[in-house]
């Protein structure tokens, strides 16, 4: 097991090194006008992160993201459990939800803006729109695929619905639900950032678009780097937990 993990770590390191090498190579090929070198970007990032302005943008993005994620989890679990229990509703609605997953949700953003106004709530709503769907789908699948023997045991013990959820379904479904949360986490982040890129006065997404407007390449690349590193790091961490949970199950 530990050997496998070491392999995973080595692969990840190799990959990061390769990506940086690629970046440097492209920089040499394209030059200063369109691209800043990895080193210059890192230096600029270090400078950016310590600035007062940046902290405001970051905290704005993080607040929208945090609220959106909490709402996604609550709504996703509730709807997921409902659709998992109610066979007819689940069968009827699951394909519809999958379809909604595939539409370009960015086009819905103007509607959210008109409904919620320009600001935090529209951003949160957009994040929730992205994040709930995977959580619903994974929870639904987990509840449906609970081993029948567990359900029989619950019947024998005459557990009530809430008791059954609390003591049987939820623990049995945790690995799957966690996968849903992992995917939901990433998508909520993507949703909040996209919302900021399209219409917002604050936040990291706004900072990116502002960078283009000012033709500030270093700013664009630094913010992109920060977002990518954060998303990849958290996702890798969650993936490790996810795999551990699934092994146990």
């Amino acid at each position: 097991m530990s050997e496998r993990r070491r392999h995973g770590g080595r692969n990840a390191l190799l990959l990061v090194a390769a990506l940086f090498a690629l970046w440097q190579a492209i920089y040499w090929a394209v030059g200063d006008i369109a691209l800043s070198s990895p080193l210059a970007t890192l230096r600029y990032t270090a400078q950016l992160v310590t600035g007062e302005d940046f902290r405001m943008h970051l905290s704005d993005t993080m607040r929208a993201f945090a609220i959106a994620f909490v709402l996604s989890v609550v709504i996703g679990l509730l709807v997921g459990f409902w659709l998992g229990f109610d066979r007819l509703s689940g069968d009827a609605l699951e394909p519809m939800i999958v379809t909604v997953y595939a539409i370009p949700k960015l086009t819905l953003y103007p509607i959210l803006l008109l409904a919620f106004g320009l600001g935090l709530s529209a951003k949160v709503a957009f994040g929730v729109l992205h994040g709930t769907i995977p959580i619903i789908l994974f929870t639904l699948g987990a509840v449906r695929n609970t081993r029948p023997i567990l359900l029989k045991t619950a019947h024998v013990l005459k557990l009530s619905r809430p008791q059954m959820v609390r003591w049987i379904l939820f623990p049995a479904a945790i690995p799957e639900i966690f996968t849903g949360l992992r995917v939901g986490f990433s998508l909520t982040l993507i949703g909040s950032l996209l919302a900021e890129m399209f219409a917002s006065q604050r936040g990291l997404g706004y900072l990116l678009m502002n960078g283009i407007g000012l033709h500030n390449i270093e700013l664009v690349m630094s913010v992109t780097l920060l977002i990518v590193v954060f998303a990849a790091a958290v996702s890798t961490l969650l993936l490790q937990v996810d795999r551990k949970l699934h092994r146990k199950g």
Partner: protein
């Protein structure tokens, strides 16, 4: 089956009716949204007038181009990676976290590098689609039963014959799953980047209409995109199901 269909019909019809009632009674005011029947009328007029034909053409060709690139590169890359175990292991962390990274965050960067044309959009759509294609094709190739390949060797099939007669049909349903995702991602990539910053296309037109408070153009276009992506997705899902059913997988 019929009950499910009725259920879905009731949900959709109910949602539309609810919107209609809300709009007509003023719970949702006119500036926010028009009642659905007016949206349908506007959509018809918009399509009949041909005003959006240019935008529709631009979006469709860009999507198609990105899709073809994603499918082609995806299948070839997957076939290569299937042979090169070490490279595949190295890239595994990338694939595992790929869709957690907001690919759209690269869009501003691409605009800086390539200029504000079609290329950054196609690149974003390609990047979104290609990994889904690679991962699912790899998954399909992993599941080709070894006995088939042994049979192929006994029959002395050429590599091309093996690929066309054995590998492709066996991995087909999984590859189709990849295609389905790639189609959705390509569409999302093009529309999304048009929407964020561009000079044309349906996404651009929606953004333009939004900035001008032109609801009579914005809502019909949004509905058009929803209908298009739902239609494509439904057709591909059907096809996927028949393929899986023929294989007896489900």
């Amino acid at each position: 089956m019929k009950r499910l269909f009725l259920y879905r019909l009731a949900v959709v019809a109910g949602a539309i009716a609810l919107l209609e009632i809300f709009c007509l009674t003023g719970v949702i005011d006119k500036i926010t949204m028009q009642p659905p029947h007016l949206i349908a009328r506007d959509l018809y007029r918009l399509l009949a007038s041909g005003r959006m034909n240019g935008a529709i053409w631009k979006t469709s060709t860009n999507t198609l181009l990105a899709l073809v690139l994603a499918l082609g590169v995806g299948v070839v890359a997957a076939a290569l990676l299937h042979r090169l175990r070490a490279l595949r292991d190295t890239l595994d962390p990338l694939f595992a976290t790929y869709y957690a990274v907001p690919v759209f965050a690269f869009y501003p960067f691409f605009i800086v590098v390539f200029g504000l044309g079609d290329l950054p959009q196609i690149l974003i759509a390609f990047m979104l689609g290609v990994v889904a294609m690679i991962v699912n094709t790899l998954n399909g190739l992993d599941r080709v039963p070894p006995v088939l390949l042994k049979t192929g060797r006994i029959m002395r099939l050429t590599p091309i014959d093996t690929a066309l007669r054995l590998t492709l049909p066996a991995a087909g349903p999984y590859i189709l799953t990849g295609v389905k995702l790639a189609v959705a991602y390509a569409f999302i990539g093009i529309i999304g980047s048009e929407f964020i910053l561009s000079r044309g296309g349906i996404g651009y037109e929606i953004n333009f209409a939004y900035n001008n408070f032109d609801n009579a153009t914005m809502y019909p276009l949004i509905v058009l995109i929803l209908l298009a992506s739902i239609a494509i997705n439904t057709v591909l899902t059907r096809w996927e199901k028949t393929l899986l059913a023929r294989r007896g997988a489900r």
